[in-house]
Symmetry: C2
Subunit: 240 residues, 2 copies
DNA sequence: GAGTGGTCTAGACCACGTT
DNA sequence: ACGTGGTCTAGACCACTCT
């Protein structure tokens, strides 16, 4: 039961109580949990307080809410492993697993580089750049969402079609060779646009990489922000 | 102004409005934003609705709430860069920057390996293992929180003092050589214990690495979960 | 139509920090 | 004493799903 005189907020007490039920196996993966109305009645708290507890466990990845149906315990088994520190081989690795990769390119457009972007790409301010967005899907489930800038002078003939197959191969076909990439990794709550691109709900944490990718010789090819859908995939890394 | 008949919830409208103020420079880093009471009066919404908008922008890293004082716009400049895919050199890198590293070891205790842990470490179930927690601080600000398991048979004489200096060096002094580490990286909302260990508030997203560290020769040395405080530090990676 | 979660209101009391 | 954010209540209306 909950202690109304405790220093610990009621919604935190309820969170912990539900967590215990999950860890003890009383609530199993796939189970529906008591509704907000049931919880508020059973524990003599208001519905808003019960809702706050459930909301918190939802953003922590233990529960999933489905409108009109209820709230369910979800598992943390994400089947497919993808590398975080490899530039190539995404498509190939997916195919090896017998799955179908697909790239969607919602946007490919010309923009002018602002000061910050020009500095990152090693070009002049107001120089033309490509801005592109790409969603990498596996069996129609979005895995990765990329937003990327590349100097137009480097790839003057880029088309959406080139991005729908292998960007790596296209760059090579233009006589350039991708070398490596510096990345900053962080955990973020994405904005609504990114969240919907990856079919995620509001307030779900997500992996973000900000990348500078270099050509052989050290020239900057592209600046990109990459969002990873960890709801369905595991992202692996090798350290030494 | 807000549109009460819109399909977009009022708190989302207010979120976007506050974000525009931040991006336009109307609200600058360090500024206090209008209080919940002011917002609810100015936009003719209830205080709970204003609060929800502010709460969401807080977990997204744009605002910081201070009890008794108000809500402030925070910057995203995190000064110190730390590597995500390097096993050694943390202490040295910090010292190079003229900062003082310190390791706190709240827990070092014997436990029995359960089935899952035994399999990960390549030992028998119920064999003795060390369980240790370590907080790596830089100038008294927690940067990394580690929870780790090591078979006692590998390091029978381990003490808290050994962990307060360099774990890497201690392992070497025992005639073992650390080789590399497989890591799974994810974005999580930490539980209250981890959050308070890193001096973070509830519901702030955090980087998590689950690691298997190997000795030269391929034997498993340790299984660890490492939490990174991205509030104060940037975590970098190199991809090729 | 009944139940669910999503949003919203208009109050209330509290702990905290500033004045 | 006052204003702040933190919690909590007891209602309300809505859109959605299932039957």
């Amino acid at each position: 039961m909950l202690d109304k005189n405790s220093l610990i907020p009621l919604y935190v007490q309820l969170e912990n109580l539900l967590l215990e039920m999950i860890e003890s196996g009383e609530l199993k993966v796939g189970d529906i949990i008591p509704s907000e109305n049931e919880l508020s009645k059973n524990y003599s708290i208001s519905r808003m307080t019960a809702k706050k507890a459930i909301d918190n466990l939802t953003i922590k990845g233990f529960l999933e809410r489905v409108k009109g149906k209820g709230t369910f315990v979800i598992g943390k088994e994400k089947k497919i492993e993808l590398p975080l520190n490899r530039l190539r081989g995404f498509t190939q690795k997916v195919k090896e697993m017998g799955l179908i990769p697909k790239n969607i390119v919602p946007i490919l457009e010309r923009r002018k580089a602002d000061k910050k972007l020009a500095k990152l790409l090693g070009i002049d301010e107001n120089e033309d750049v490509w801005y592109m967005e790409r969603i990498r899907q596996i069996d129609d489930t979005p895995a990765v969402f990329e937003q990327s800038y590349i100097a137009i002078s480097l790839l003057p003939n880029l088309t959406r079609k080139d991005l729908m197959s292998s960007k790596f191969e296209y760059v090579r076909s233009q006589g350039l060779e991708i070398s490596d990439s510096d990345r900053e990794i962080s955990a973020e709550i994405p904005d609504d646009y990114v969240a919907s691109s990856l079919h995620l709900k509001r307030n779900e944490p997500i992996l973000l990489a900000e990348c500078i990718t270099y050509l052989k010789g050290g020239q900057v090819l592209e600046y990109s922000t990459i969002f990873y859908n960890q709801k369905k995939y595991r992202f692996k890394l090798y350290a030494d």
